[in-house]
Structures are given as C-alpha cells and as structure tokens.
C-alpha cells in the first residue's frame, strides 16, 4: 500500500514537473514546424531566447519588389493540414556576415542551400508580406496573391550544412 501511495505522489510530482521548461529553443526535424508556428503566434514569449535550427535559404520577393533573405522550410498551409496548399515557414534573417545564396528555390528538391543558424528573435514584431503565388507549374502567378507572416531573426552564428541528407525540405507535424 505504501508503494501505491508513493506512486501516486510521484504522479503528482511528474505532472507538476511538466511545468518546468528549458530556456534555449532547439528546433529539430520533429519540432521545426510546430516550433516555428508557436514562435510566430507568440513572438513575445520567445524574444531573448537562444534559438537554433537547420533551414535552407530562400529569397522572398514581395509584390512591391522588396527582397528578404530568409531561412525556411517548405510546409503545408497549416500545421497538421494535408490539404495540398503549400507554403513556407521560417524567419527573415539578419546577419552581419554573408548569408549563402539560395539554390533551386522553386523546385521541389532537397538540393538546397542548407544552413545551421543560432541567434535570437530581433523583435516581437512580425512582418506580413504580400507575395505572388506559384502556379501548378512552379511559375510565379502575378494574378494570385498570398500573405505570409515572418519574424525577424538576428543570427549570431551561421554555418553551412554540406550533407543535408537527414534534413527534410518539406516539413509536416
């Protein structure tokens, strides 16, 4: 019976211990999409926290012609959604050094310019960008506009990933 009581107490302790979380955020293959989504929803909660992740570089051009160099992954339109609408999720990158140029940007391939970045959210403000969508043939369709939301990420260290075989350019939940 004592053992049962101890087990119950342990259960209570475990549930309470769930409340304690680490400060640094490491986005892995499993956590990339949901982690990015959470940061976009609650940027205030993550400003100042050290964040690290792997991504590929992507040059985003809005409908006004402004260019933003981003670190992203391709994903479905919503977390858990397999509705066929694809999008990208990630950060606008701010870095003092040189950010490698994107490769095969509009092609569905893993052969991208992969980088590992560490840094912090520069601000809790999000940037909503109006962009032209890609059509079924992978060409830009100027008659179809979409909106994407990005946080700005202040990169403190950046390294190129040569072997990206274990990384997925398309992420799901």
């Amino acid at each position: 019976m004592k053992k049962l009581l101890v087990a119950l107490l342990l259960l209570c302790v475990c549930v309470t211990a769930f409340a304690c979380g680490g400060k640094d955020v490491v986005l892995t293959e499993e956590t990339f999409f949901y982690g990015m989504l959470t940061i976009q929803m609650y940027p205030d909660e993550y400003v100042g926290k050290k964040i690290s992740f792997d991504c590929f570089t992507y040059r985003l051009t809005d409908t006004d012609g402004n260019e933003y160099l981003c670190g992203v992954r391709k994903c479905s339109a919503g977390y858990g959604c397999k509705c066929g609408k694809d999008s990208i999720i990630g950060f606008i990158l701010e870095y003092d050094g040189e950010i490698p140029e994107p490769k095969n940007q509009s092609v569905d391939t893993n052969d991208k310019t992969w980088i590992h970045v560490e840094g912090k959210l520069a601000t809790a403000d999000v940037t909503e960008l109006e962009i032209f969508a890609y059509d079924e043939n992978g060409q830009i369709d100027t008659s179809w506009r979409e909106y994407v939301v990005f946080c700005t990420f202040a990169v403190s260290s950046l390294s190129r990933i040569e072997d990206a075989s274990g990384l997925a350019y398309y992420v799901t939940k």
């Binding site: 259960l11 209570c12 769930f18 982690g35 858990g80 397999k82």
Partner: protein, 220 residues
Amino acid sequence: MANKKYMEAKIKMEQEKAYEKKRKMLRLFSLAALMFTVILLLFMLSNWAGIFNTDIEDYEIKVSGYNCVSAGLSGDYTSMDTGRFGNIAVFNYHAEAYITKLATLSAAVMFVVIVHLLVNLFGLITNKQGVFNIVSIAFALAETALFIACYAVALSINDSGILTTYCNDNPACSVQSHAILPVLFAILSFAAPILAMIYSKKITPPQEPQQEVPKSGKRK
C-alpha cells in the same frame, strides 16, 4: 450440556466464517471502486479536444486531458513542447477563453480523482467502508459533473471561431472530444460505492450468544 456448548461454538464459527466472507466481498467492491478511479485517471490520457478532419481521417491538432492539466497547473499555454502540452498553443491562439476554461476544469477533475483514489485506498486499507462509501459517492458525483463540464467545454470550442481562423471553414473539420468516455465511466463508477453501501448494510457482525442468566431463587 457439553453438546449444547459445542453446537453454540460451531454456530458461532459458521457465523464468523459467513461474516468474514461477506467482508471479503465488500472489500472487492472497494477494490473495484479503486480500480475505477485509476481507470478514470488513465482516461485522461485520451484526446480531450481535437480538430478532426474527415478528409484525412486524422486529427490536425489535439490535446489530451493531461496536456490540459499541465497547462492549467503551470499557466503555460504557449509552449511548443507537444509532449507536455500537446497542441495547446494553437488552441490558445484561436480559442483562448475556451482552452483556459478546459484546462482549469481538467486540473480540478484530476485533483478530485486523485483525492477520490486516496479515499478509496484508505477505505480499503482501514476496512471502514461505511464512511468511505458515502465520501466515495460524493467524489464520484463531483467527478461526473466535472467530466461532463470538460466534455461540454471541449465541444463548445466548435463555436469559438477556430474552425474559421484555423481551418478556413473547411466543412471536413470539426472539434471532437473523447472526454465522453470518462463521463460514462464516472457514471458507471457510482455503482461500486452504492452497491458497497447497500451490501454493507446487510452485513451484521455475528452476535455473541446470550449468556444464560441463572434463575434467582425466591426467598422464602
């Protein structure tokens, strides 16, 4: 005389045997009540609220009872830790009032179930079913009410607007909850303490054989 005493002792022994048998049976009711509360705790691992998409026949986002309890106890509704919190961050973003209410109710129901479990455990250890059965019925009632509230709040997320903002009004999507399972089980769990109470009233400890009072002689 010796034969009478032997018969009395035999009857007494048989009565005690029958009493002990009934007490053992009563303990089984207490054990069943204990098991019911453990199962109720296990049911909290099930899907408490989730957006089910019939097109993909899967949940797009979901939270379990324990995810809600974790959020309710810690006050953290924005964590990306899906192991502890499930997809509560998404629910909180699109339906904050609903998910905080669900988390508070879930924490409350878990607290009640754990206390109920301890009550049943003490009832079993001390073998004092009488008082504990009444307390157990009260806890079962509270649990049932709280589980019903959890289920109702979980389903009310359908009206929160999350299906518009998160699912773009996709008709294939709806908020569903398995919190109905502990509701049904909590109702069933009433049976154990009620039956135990009825049964315990039928059990009476064997009475001591009445001592023969020696007849007093009349004084002349």
